[in-house]
């Protein structure tokens, strides 16, 4: 599939901002099944400095500084991405989850060493006994890891309520787990904490999802949102994604932007401003597949 993705973030400040620095993680990654054909970020006001680098996890970061006094700041990223279907193993043919756990423990080379980055507590996620208890409902002894993860994904999808009013980006994991409500970020965090609590590596993935308009209605511009899911590690195969918000395995409708230990590693726009007073934030995302004709105004 071919997507053109527009992701616009606008800040409005009650007082002028005299200086601001931002780190943007908006550039889709290159993967075996994903190719970023084009990526541009339009910034208003024009930054005095922009500089790209790769972060520790290999995500593209754009560092920008605005020195012009401003009351409004817009980042508009436009990405053209080609996504194919990732290769997926047959769930029942994957190794038992215990064998994955034992292999990851103390294995110090190649991809498995890198995977051990995602075994431990991270800034937003502390695995606890209650996560393990919950996870063990799916991780029966000897069960193939992919099967177990899929079962866990299904349970989270059915037992947690998608409720944008229930949480903010700052709601701690404990509260999400207690009230069983939240958005894609919370769903992903819950499942990551559960998988890690069993000694298995899991990482947070941020990106976009192509959504269908309600039946009989035209696509609304800006109606999409950035999305989040997770992937788990299986030695010999690599990382496999699951999306607990939708109870699916990500395929060609999911566009990967960045990954990390949790949301704090990949937040799309992070910044520090001098001045500014209070601010309001607007985010508009459009994921348009090229095969579909553009909406008429």
């Amino acid at each position: 599939m071919h997507y053109e993705i527009t992701h616009a973030t606008t800040y409005e400040y009650s007082y002028p901002v005299s200086l601001s620095h931002h780190a943007l993680r908006l550039h889709p990654r290159g993967l075996a099944w994903q190719h970023c054909v084009d990526h541009r970020v339009h910034i208003d006001p024009v930054p005095s400095m922009r500089r790209a680098h790769e972060d520790y996890h290999g995500n593209h970061v754009l560092f920008v500084t605005m020195e012009v006094e401003h009351r409004q700041l817009t980042f508009k990223s436009v990405s053209v991405v080609e996504v194919t279907h990732p290769m997926l193993p047959e769930p029942r043919e994957t190794p038992s989850w215990e064998s994955v756990r034992d292999f990851c423990r103390g294995h110090q080379s190649g991809a498995t060493l890198e995977a051990s980055e995602f075994l431990f507590d991270s800034p937003l996620l502390q695995s606890k006994a209650l996560h393990a208890q919950y996870a063990l409902g799916s991780f029966k002894p000897g069960r193939p890891i992919f099967e177990a993860v899929l079962d866990l994904t299904r349970r989270i999808h059915s037992e947690f309520v998608f409720d944008p009013a229930a949480t903010t980006v700052a709601t701690p994991l404990d509260e999400v787990f207690k009230h069983k409500r939240g958005v894609c970020q919370d769903f992903a965090h819950v499942q990551i904490a559960c998988i890690r609590s069993l000694g298995l590596p899991a990482r947070y993935v941020s990106g976009y999802l192509e959504t269908d308009p309600p039946p009989g209605r035209a696509r609304m511009v800006g109606s999409d949102a950035s999305h989040a899911w997770l992937s788990f590690y299986c030695p010999g195969i690599g990382w496999i994604g699951v999306d607990p918000t939708n109870n699916v395995v990500p395929t060609s409708r999911h566009v990967t932007v960045a990954w990390g230990r949790d949301f704090s590693d990949v937040s799309p726009v992070r910044g520090v401003v001098l001045g500014g007073g209070k601010h309001t934030l607007r985010v508009a995302v459009d994921v348009i597949s090229r095969e579909v004709p553009a909406p008429t105004a």
């Binding site: 800040y11 005299s18 200086l19 620095h21 931002h22 780190a23 005095s48 400095m49 500089r51 680098h53 972060d55 520790y56 996890h57 560092f63 500084t65 020195e67 103390g106 110090q108 080379s109 060493l113 051990s116 980055e117 075994l119 431990f120 507590d121 006994a129 590693d265 726009v269 992070r270 910044g271 520090v272 401003v273 001098l274 001045g275 500014g276 601010h279 934030l281």
Partner: protein
């Protein structure tokens, strides 16, 4: 004095000895005593000298020491202690002595440790071969909160990650030195070690010379030069700043002290800014490039953009500047990972692997629970060991299994089992003891030594000495400044004569001037300005109070009554007394209220409260105040501590007089000794503004009082102009003449005109502001013109004839204008430093 016959000299010596009741605990190593009564040979010279001095002399010198420390303002802030801000530093009179051969061993071990740590940091934040080769377990790094991923791959100029390392050492009963802990991100204590040396070498000058003590200055000059040489592309003299978290930090004294000693500019995060991947300091003249940041801010607080977002202590974009390789950050960001005790068991292997050498200085036995066997050992031996956080960035106190009840033990074991890699067990070292002087004799206290290692350009150099810390009581196993223990100077003895090197005049080298030292961060200018304002506000208040108190205490009675009544109203008008004093109020009430105004430090605007405020701001700009100035300020604080006592009014009057004299000493110091730089200008503008404002308010309220004529003599007195008035007019105060003298007279340093002229002159010399706009003198020039053109005796005449408004409005106008000008000044020069993450 000696008895004629000396039958048993040994017993006699014993009886007189300072060490008669010195009993080090059995089973631990004593630094001073070998066995029985004999001192170790390297202590002989000092012990004899102390014995010769005798207890009285030691007490005198000890008191001298306390006085010097108080004068130097050496403090250590203890967070948990309500009285904790500015706790005086405690320094024992007896230094810790370390013999030359023994120190050489320790020195080699410390230099090796620093080199090893640097290599480990280079690998962990680089290729991570140690992980791939199995020399470090992944969880030690990946689960470590002190492993900062944004710092991975960041360039470190010269390949130096670790510039200054602090190492806590202790000596076990067999005499071996062990490492207890490492301080690898922003080690504190080197400045205190230096201050201890300066004080003790003054207290024991002969002994210091006779013992041939290694000097400390060379270490610091080498360190400073090494930092300069690391700068990739500097001009002739690099800009070095010392980044402090600010006055609330426990070791703020040391930051000020080191910055001044090393000639670095002391800055807070808000003083720095990153533009185009370079770090700049915001000065009144605009942005100045920074080449080196010696930081005392912890790793995660250094950059709110990429590290802790809630930090207000850091510099947004600092890490991006580091990535560009244009700034030396000492120590490099992320180096705190080396503080993890979990590294200790791996150091011998890492040392052989990386350096091809055996580890010279052993760490205290440490079992990291991240490994199964070690975890079981810790759980099985909880009684004998200390359980500590194993990784960096964790803050919990050491736990002594032996001191826990069974529930606490069960909880601890469960916690270890749940997250083993977060815990490490450590052997409890029986610390060595050393003599401490305590007024009556020597007693034994536990000691630990913080040593310092710094990059020297080609490797690492060790400070010959360090900060020796002393336990609070003979039995306390923990040695910590936070727990209120004391400290000692550390004398590393030399085999031969010691050459004296002072950092102030580097031998045989041209003196390097610090390019940026003279420039003023905007925040500092702001503080100077407010220092000036509070100073003047305090002086004004003292003078007003004195005029009232002296009249209340006046035994002659009667004569002063109308003046007192008028002044009570003036004070109420100026919000210095409650509004009810605008009417008639009993004298007793007034007395109680006035005493409150002086002594109550919990109310805004009292004498005591203003003194505290002044002290606080002085603390912030301390690196720019001379030692003498600081001494006067300390005296001011000391003098203000008196209580009202049984003759409250008389005592209050004495206190007010003393404080006024102290303040004039400061004024003299300011006029005579402060360099005419921007700092002084802002201080003086603050004073002039406040004095002009105070005068306007005083006159305005005096005119509104009843009978206003009663206020004339007091306001002349408050404005210190009584003598001039008498000399000039030979008469009782007349309204028009008083007003002329206090407002229009350009020769009277208390008159409004004098303040305006001074402000105008300062403005003409102000730097351009951050936008390059030259200072605007317009408003003040306009005020001067208005003042000069006024015909005061006409206004006064109208006032006396009942048309009060024109004069009242006239004087009020100047107060309002000055207040507006103060706000404008703030907008123009003191950049808003409010930071916010989004």
């Amino acid at each position: 004095m000696n008895p004629p016959t000396r039958t048993n000299p040994a017993t006699e010596f014993q009886a007189a000895s300072l060490f008669a009741s010195y009993f080090p605990a059995a089973g631990s190593y004593d630094e001073m005593r070998l066995s029985g009564v004999d001192p170790r040979s390297h202590w002989a010279t000092l012990v004899q000298a102390l014995e010769r001095m005798g207890p009285d002399e030691l007490t005198t010198r000890s008191e001298n020491g306390r006085r010097i420390i108080c004068e130097h303002g050496v403090t250590y802030n203890v967070y948990a202690d309500p009285q904790g801000m500015d706790r005086p530093w405690e320094l024992d009179l007896v230094p810790l002595l370390i013999p030359p051969d023994e120190w050489r061993m320790v020195e080699r071990g410390l230099a090796q440790r620093a080199q090893l740590f640097n290599m480990i940091l280079a690998d962990v934040y680089g290729p991570q071969r140690l992980l791939r080769d199995g020399l470090l377990p992944p969880s030690l790094v990946f689960a470590n909160p002190a492993f900062l991923r944004p710092c991975h791959g960041v360039l470190t100029p010269g390949g130096v990650h670790l510039h200054l390392l602090g190492v806590d050492l202790a000596r076990s009963p067999d005499g071996q030195w062990w490492v207890l802990a490492d301080r690898a991100q922003a080690p504190s204590g080197a400045g205190y070690a230096l201050e201890n040396r300066i004080v003790l070498s003054r207290l024991l000058p002969d002994e210091f010379r006779d013992c041939q003590v290694e000097r400390l200055a060379f270490f610091f000059s080498v360190f400073r030069d090494a930092l300069h040489h690391l700068v990739p592309a500097a001009g002739p003299i690099p800009n070095v700043v010392l980044l402090t978290p600010g006055p609330y930090n426990e070791t703020y004294f040391e930051h000020v002290y080191l910055a001044r000693y090393l000639g670095f500019t002391l800055v807070e995060g808000g003083d720095l800014t990153v533009r185009n991947r370079q770090v700049f300091i915001k000065t009144l003249e605009g942005l100045q490039r920074v080449d080196v940041i010696l930081r005392r801010v912890d790793d995660t607080f250094c950059d709110p953009l990429e590290l802790r977002q809630d930090s207000f202590l850091g510099v947004p974009g600092l890490l991006e500047a580091a990535r560009a390789g244009q700034v030396v950050i000492a120590n490099s960001l992320g180096s705190g990972i080396m503080e993890s005790p979990a590294f200790m068991p791996f150091l011998p292997g890492l040392c052989r692997h990386l350096l091809g050498e055996d580890l010279l200085l052993p760490s205290v036995a440490t079992w990291w629970c991240g490994q199964a066997k070690e975890q079981n050992y810790v759980v099985d031996h909880l009684d004998e060991i200390v359980v500590k956080p194993a990784l960096g960035g964790q803050r919990h106190v050491p736990l002594f299994g032996g001191l826990m009840d069974s529930t606490q033990r069960t909880d601890l074991i469960a916690a270890i089992r749940a997250r083993p890699h977060l815990y490490a067990g450590q052997e409890q070292v029986r610390l060595s003891s050393a003599p401490v002087w305590n007024e009556t004799g020597m007693s034994a206290r536990k000691i630990a030594l913080r040593a310092f290692v710094a990059t020297d350009g080609c490797g690492y150099s060790v400070l010959p000495g360090g900060l020796t810390r002393v336990s609070t009581s003979p039995d306390d196993p923990i040695v910590s400044m936070q727990r209120g223990g004391g400290s000692k100077d550390t004398w590393v003895l030399s085999d031969g004569p010691v050459s004296a090197i002072s950092l102030l005049t580097p031998a045989g080298q041209p003196t390097t001037a610090n390019r940026i030292g003279a420039e003023l961060p905007s925040r500092v200018a702001d503080n100077f300005f407010w220092f000036g304002r509070y100073f003047e506000r305090l002086e004004g208040l003292l003078r007003i109070l004195r005029s009232v108190v002296s009249r209340m205490a006046d035994e002659s009675g009667g004569e002063g009554a109308p003046e007192l009544a008028a002044m009570a109203q003036v004070m109420a008008g100026m919000n210095l007394l409650p509004a009810r004093f605008l009417g008639r109020v009993p004298l007793k009430d007034l007395e109680a209220e006035i005493l409150q105004r002086i002594y109550n430090q919990n109310r805004i605007g009292t004498v005591r409260e203003l003194l505290l405020r002044l002290r606080h701001i002085a603390g912030i700009v301390r690196d720019r105040l001379s030692g003498d100035t600081w001494r006067i300020l300390s005296e001011l604080q000391g003098d203000s501590r008196t209580r009202p006592g049984r003759i409250p009014l008389a005592n209050a009057l004495t206190l007010l007089n003393t404080l006024i004299v102290d303040l004039s000493a400061f004024s003299g110091m300011e006029m005579e000794n402060m360099t005419r730089e921007h700092g002084w200008r802002f201080l003086d503008v603050g004073r002039r503004l406040e004095r002009g404002l105070g005068l306007s308010r005083l006159v305005e309220c005096a005119l509104a009082s009843e009978p206003w004529i009663g206020a004339l003599a007091p306001i002349l007195e408050i404005a210190d102009s009584t003598l001039t008035y008498r000399r000039r007019y030979f008469a009782q105060p007349q309204l028009a003449s008083v007003l002329e003298l206090l407002t229009q007279d350009g020769r009277n340093p208390r008159a409004l005109r004098f303040q305006l002229a001074a402000i105008s002159e300062h403005i003409a010399n102000f730097p351009r502001d951050a936008r390059g706009v030259s200072p605007d003198n317009h408003r003040v020039e306009e005020l001067l013109r208005r003042l000069d053109e006024s015909i005061v005796h006409e206004l006064a005449g109208a006032f006396e004839n009942g048309r009060r408004e024109p004069l009242a409005n006239w004087i009020k106008f100047f107060g309002t204008e000055l207040e507006n000008y103060s706000v404008e000044l703030g907008h123009r020069y003191f950049t808003h430093t409010e930071m916010r993450a989004s």
